[in-house]
Amino acid sequence: MGRGPRIGVFVCHCGKNIATTVDVPRVVEALARHPGVAYAARHEYMCSDPGQDVVKKAIKDHRLTGVVVAACSPSMHETTFRNAAEEAGLNPYLVEIANIREWCSWVHDGPVTTDKAIRITRAMVEKVKGNHPLEPVEVGHAVKCLVVGGGISGIQAALDIADAGYEVLLVERSPSIGGRMAQLSETFPTLDCSQCILTPKMVEASRHPRIRLLTYSEVESVTGYLGNYHVTIRKKPTYVDPDKCNLCGDCARVCPVRVPSEFDQGLSERAAIYVPFPQAVPSSYTLDEVNCLGLNPLRCSECSKVCTVGAINYDMREERIEEDVGAIVLATGYDLYGKEMMGEYGHGTVPDVIDGLEFERILSAGGPTKGEVRRPSDGKVPKEVVFIQCSGSRDPELHKSYCSKICCMYTAKHALLYRHNVHDGTAYVFYIDIRAGGKEYEEFVVRAMEDERILYLRGKVAKVFRDGDKVVVWGVDTLTGKRIEVAADLVVLAQAMVPSAGTEELARKLHIACGGEGFLKEAHPKLRPLEALTAGIFLAGAAHGPKDIPEAVAQGSGAAAKAIAILASPTLTHSPEVAEVDEDLCSGCAVCVPQCPYGAITPGDVAHVNELLCEGCGTCVAACPSGAMRMKNQTDAQVKRMIQVALGGEPVEVSRG
């Protein structure tokens, strides 16, 4: 350099995408006259190999000190042109994209379009003049992965990563892995026994030499950045040695405490020392400290007295496990929207108004009724059952605005299994629409409607209330316009899916975002559905949004592949286009610190930016009261100059035929 900038400008026609509304030769002509521009050219498709060759050749022939490609959004081809420039010997960070497609040709027409394209391109030329060559930041990384959530999605992710040869920490909050799928009776549309297809995977995860299973554990804190996350996990004491416990169950039989079973959705009771379900992994009892009569001082100790193998240890302490991991997969799953929120359906106070998961437990062979359909209030076999879809879903005024996606399918399954179970029973399904998009899903619903003679009524239920031992359902069949009243024995609500409790807290610990409904937010809804916005954190399963089992499994595998890509790379690079502190100007006021969505700034006498954590969003730069924070290659001076050039000067006269 030294003799002033020599910028090359390359304007793309993008076929007709740009050229229809922008006079491309005119843009080239105008930019060729712009101060500091040494070369200007155009091409039909600048991103094609011949197009890139034009850029590369010009860099060498004209000794360019910077390049502006006027084309589509930088999210499309910035990398393409930066790589091309690097091949030609120009630092890639001296290449910028002027977006004259999404910002210009697609959204305007008429002569102003060409004028605006010229202004956008000129502004980027001014930016490039202020750019400095930068080098990507290189960093080593840990070769272990953390998977949070031991449901089917998390299990699948853990297995795939471990099978690829990397260590996995699989953290599950409850005493057993298995998640929601372990609670289900049978799965749509094949009516496979849910536990039968799940438990082999659970066992595989527990036996896998590279998977460390941490059940009854929660993520306490996460610090660090892509490739180098430092995680602290709190493992609660189970007071039972899993290696000694032989699942004989004597302890639970003598335990004087009975509390509602979480696994059976409160439809049965468990002791304070319990195993959630027979196939639990790890296969060991857990002493639930909260409900035990007392451990310190010991109030009862009946369980210990009857344990012949001496597995019970009241002195067990909470463990804190600290590990460095390269990537994190979040598969924290879902809960059902609370029945108590449904005022129109009895606020959850009517015993025979249950939700879908409760009905799954009733249908399940291992459930509270051993698979016989009996209603909770009096154990009678219900002869008329009403299923209500979209309970809490698709109701922006009162509840959740979104579709919970799986309810149409599992309601069809519920009604069908009910009819298989109670041959003389009648099943009604109230629905708004049937959404059965999926392999063999539509056929399954049709089978329920036609072969199983389930009464599908299109309409919403207005009210559900108790009348004697009946549950009366008032609704409307919008297809016939008739009011419907059913004196049912049991009502099953297809409650909306919501993110599992604690999702938001976990997201805060990880500095990642939740969408408006609290589900974990992906980096891009189309092109980066598995990634959180923070690099190295991936999303799987229903924590990201309502999903059925195949989707949760696919996403688990997908997230695993993303994680493996990090674990397998020799070193990681990070963009150098990050914030930096002018230490001569920073007073340490720390206004920037809480603004950083990535936790990249450490306060002190002067603020310190961790360039590996910084994603270059610029929030701190805007917040800094004394102008001490700067974005590399995006300084205030550059931005001011860009604005001056973009808004200054006379409009370009363009005559168009």
């Binding site: 100007l585 007073s587 006021c589 206004v591 306060p603 917040a623 800094c624 004394s626 102008g627 001490a628």
Partner: protein, 316 residues
């Protein structure tokens, strides 16, 4: 022995505090006075405009001007002093950026004169006096010194603090002069000197100084006082925050802060949290910031003429 440097001190539209501030140097003032020759200082020695007019051009080594420019006479005098001086120093907040009298720019000259004298104020000579004895005409707007003449250096503050005045005389007397336009204060913001701790950087309420006895250790901004510290140069030793009063900005903004009001609005906008999430958050934060009475007087207490373009609308 070389001749002592000739020094002039002049006041325009000020309160006199800047003149008094020299006394704050204490014993050190005697050393300074021994090394300079005062050729003009209306507050201290009996010298007249005619004396200045008789000086040779650039014969004064340095002229220190304090006060905002408010009258035609102020303007004439500073042009005269500029001609006779090698260096001109804007001394104090008024000369630097307009100061507290600069807030008068929020009202038109006519409104100000009407308020001073309900019948309107007309400069007239005193009884029996000559026409030139009449009070000078008020300018339409208050101005900073740099709006009229080239300013070489700035000693900021309202009034300038002894350490900053000391820096000026050290430079003048040693001959080791800083680059033009130098401001004799720190480039870092006042927070650097402030002993208060900054932990929970959230603005969850806005209070005025009389509404709160602040915790003596915690950052005033964190306690809801609009402290200009993060935007304003240090050098004053954070005297006000140490005494439990928020910084009002008399030393002026740090070199990269730009417009101090905009910088502060941006910082407050970043810090404010009304404790509400979701769609209502912005409205709740707006409401919280509504408690900030007199934003212009808070953000531009000493600098309105330098940053805020005020109209000439008459309120009458």
């Amino acid at each position: 022995m070389a001749a002592k440097p000739k020094i002039a001190v002049y006041w325009t539209g000020g309160c006199g505090g800047c003149d008094v501030s020299f006394l704050e140097l204490g014993v050190a003032l005697l050393d300074v006075l021994a090394q300079i020759e005062i050729v003009f200082w209306p507050a201290l020695v009996d010298t007249k405009r005619a004396d200045v007019e008789s000086f040779a051009p650039r014969s004064i080594a340095a002229t220190l001007v304090n006060g905002t420019l408010r009258t035609e006479e102020n303007v004439e005098m500073v042009h005269l002093l500029r001609e006779k001086s090698q260096l001109v120093v804007a001394f104090g907040a008024c000369a630097y950026q307009g100061g507290v009298p600069g807030l008068a720019n929020l009202a038109s000259r006519e409104d100000i004169l009407h308020r001073m004298s309900t019948n309107g104020f007309h400069p007239t000579p005193p009884p029996g006096g000559e026409r030139e004895d009449a009070p000078p005409e008020l300018l339409p707007q208050a101005k900073s010194l740099a709006d009229e003449i080239a300013v070489d250096y700035v000693v900021p503050g309202c009034p300038p603090m002894p350490p900053l005045i000391g820096l000026l005389f050290d430079a003048l007397l040693s001959g080791d002069l800083p680059a033009p336009s130098h401001v004799f204060a720190h480039d870092k913001a006042l927070c650097e000197e402030c002993p208060r701790t900054r932990e929970d950087r959230v603005l969850s309420k806005v209070v005025r100084p009389h509404e709160l006895i602040p915790d003596p250790k915690v950052c005033l901004l964190d306690q809801g006082m609009i402290c200009m510290g993060p935007v304003i140069r240090g050098g004053c030793g954070a005297a006000c925050p140490k005494a439990g009063m928020p910084c009002t900005g008399c030393v002026g903004p740090t070199p990269n802060a730009g417009d101090p009001g905009l910088a502060m609005i941006s910082a407050l906008g970043s810090l404010v949290r009304a404790g509400e999430e979701g769609p209502g958050a912005f409205a709740a934060e707006d409401k919280l910031l509504d408690a900030l009475v007199d934003p212009l007087g808070t953000f531009y207490k000493y600098s309105l003429p330098a940053y805020v373009r005020t109209g000439r609308r008459s309120n009458r």
